[in-house]
């Protein structure tokens, strides 16, 4: 798989199962609506498309990000490579 550059959480799909937090607690958290968000260096937490470089945990491996996405029981986590192509879920 190509290098993961961006990721997002589709909030309408997320059920707050928190499996992403079990895999990657440095990247993911749940917000007040029990939806998964990513924590950015700026202090902002968001579900919207975020550059990996903007994450607090910007050194997180692609393997960990992929496992977090694969662990989601509703496929709510989307990963994109440097060209913007969707890397997961496989379309």
């Amino acid at each position: 798989m190509a290098k993961i550059a961006k990721l997002c959480v589709k909030r309408d799909l997320c059920i707050g199962a928190a499996s992403c937090i079990a895999v990657s607690p440095n990247v993911f958290a749940l917000d007040g609506e029990n939806k998964a968000v990513m924590t950015k260096k700026s202090g902002v937490s968001t579900s919207d498309t975020t550059n990996v470089a903007e994450l607090v945990a910007d050194g997180t491996s692609d393997d960990e990000l992929l496992l977090a996405a694969q662990s989601c029981p509703t496929k709510a986590i989307f990963l994109y490579d440097e060209t913007g192509k969707q890397a997961y879920p496989e379309s």
């Binding site: 799909l13 059920i15 707050g16 199962a17 928190a18 499996s19 079990a22 895999v23 993911f28 749940l30």
Partner: protein
């Protein structure tokens, strides 16, 4: 007899993840999965959620693999088949259709099954359990016509179904054997907090009451209780616990307690037999004791770890998973070891009155688990405190104050990586 390098009993998230992981590690091995439902892999956890039950998403959204998955990955899928016995000396598993499958390495990932009623009338139509896709479809079909329903038991199943029923304008009544909600697991304050949101939404709760007989013709019409009352009920959903599916495997000599006993590598006492998921009672390296969990992340990650170990790696299973649900405006999360035994202490963070409440369970000055109500944004930090096993005595008093930022408190005792 068909022979496989890897045979996986159970086609849920643990078994399916194991099969896919093994295929990733070994392109040539023969791999088979046996599943007792007539379906491809789906998201069991989604069945009780509103996206599915209120049809906010098309039903197709629950399928997590394309229909071509099994053939593309060259995985033999024995769909709708039940394993009926294991011969661990001959290394064979018998199926309910008379077939026998031989294996080099075996994974038991058979999950659990709902505890079912055996009381008089319990075979009547209208009585539901919720575990499998067909169960969920039957409940949804009844929701199209019923005006009221009885939910038996206090736990995830009745909480989630109450949420769906309220949203569908179906009058829900919860019947508890215990004096308050979820009393087998929670303290009274937490149980009452859940009751607060149920009652606010119009859900009626009956305490210390049990069904002794279901009355009616072919279909349930009412229930008779231990208090001598007869309560009309044509829809009854029973969520009174989970039982094991291990009877076919016990005679083989595989060690079984509440689940299949395994070490930190998810290996059982029988050579070449591993276990994963809800049925695994494994040695947890974070807690230093044997535990059994029944949540999605645990099952998924164990399926992956077991597969790696079956392939020949020797990697400990280490993960901290949580149970979460949302309904009626409340989020509930259980993480880690939340059994409050006499040797453990509880730090209360927040209050029932404020609607935000966490009970942090500690043992010997370390956080071992937490029950969160409307406080899940703090889950990553609670999780870090648990997995890092740091002494929290210097922050214990502040942990009890919800105005204190948990991230800052946790950072004070957990060194950055």
């Amino acid at each position: 007899m068909q022979q496989f390098n890897y045979l996986i009993i159970g086609a849920g998230v643990a078994g399916t993840t194991a099969a896919e992981t093994l295929r990733g590690l070994d392109a040539k091995a023969s791999i088979a999965v046996v599943g007792d439902e007539p379906y491809d892999f789906y998201s069991r956890i989604a069945l009780s959620k509103e996206n599915y039950m209120l049809k906010k998403l098309p039903e197709e959204a629950i399928w997590l693999k394309k229909p071509s998955f099994y053939t593309e990955k060259n995985i033999a899928y024995f769909k709708g088949r039940v394993a009926t016995s294991l011969d661990s000396k001959q290394k064979q598993v018998a199926l309910d259709n008379g077939e026998t499958l031989g294996y080099d390495k075996l994974l038991l990932a058979v999950g659990g099954r709902p505890r079912c009623w055996t009381l008089p009338g319990s075979d009547k139509k209208g009585i539901h359990y919720l575990r499998k896709l067909d169960d969920a479809r039957a409940i949804m079909a009844d929701f199209e016509t019923i005006k009221a329903g009885l939910l038996v038991g206090g736990g995830f199943i009745s909480f989630e179904l109450a949420d769906i029923m309220v949203k569908r304008n179906i009058k829900a009544t919860v019947m508890l054997r215990e004096p308050y909600y979820w009393a087998n697991l929670l303290d009274e304050e937490s149980g009452r907090l859940i009751e607060d949101v149920l009652k606010k939404s119009g859900v009626e709760i009956l305490y210390e009451e049990e069904v002794v007989e279901v009355l009616g013709g072919e279909h349930a019409e009412s229930v008779r209780t231990n208090k001598g009352r007869t309560i009309p009920a044509s829809f009854i959903a029973v969520g009174i616990g989970i039982m094991d599916c291990l009877a076919p495997f016990k005679p083989s000599g595989v060690e079984v307690g509440r689940g299949v006993i395994a070490d930190q590598y998810l290996a059982t006492n029988i050579p070449d037999v591993w276990t994963a998921g809800d049925c695994a009672e494994y040695f947890d390296v974070i807690f230093g004791e044997r535990v059994q969990l029944g949540n999605w992340a645990n099952a998924m990650l164990q399926g992956r770890s077991a597969a790696q170990n079956m392939f020949g790696k020797k990697t400990e299973f280490k993960a901290l998973s949580a149970y979460t649900t949302t309904g009626l405006g409340m989020t509930i999360c259980f993480v880690g070891d939340i059994r409050v035994t006499p040797e453990k202490k509880v730090i209360e963070r927040g209050s029932r009155a404020s609607g935000k409440y966490t009970r942090i369970v500690t043992f010997e000055g370390r956080v071992v688990g937490a029950m969160q109500f409307n406080m899940t944004p703090e889950l990553p930090w609670i999780s870090k405190l648990i997995t890092d096993r740091r002494d929290i005595s210097s922050i214990a008093a502040k942990l009890a104050d919800p105005k204190e930022d948990l991230r800052a408190l946790a950072t004070a005792v957990i060194p950055p990586k």
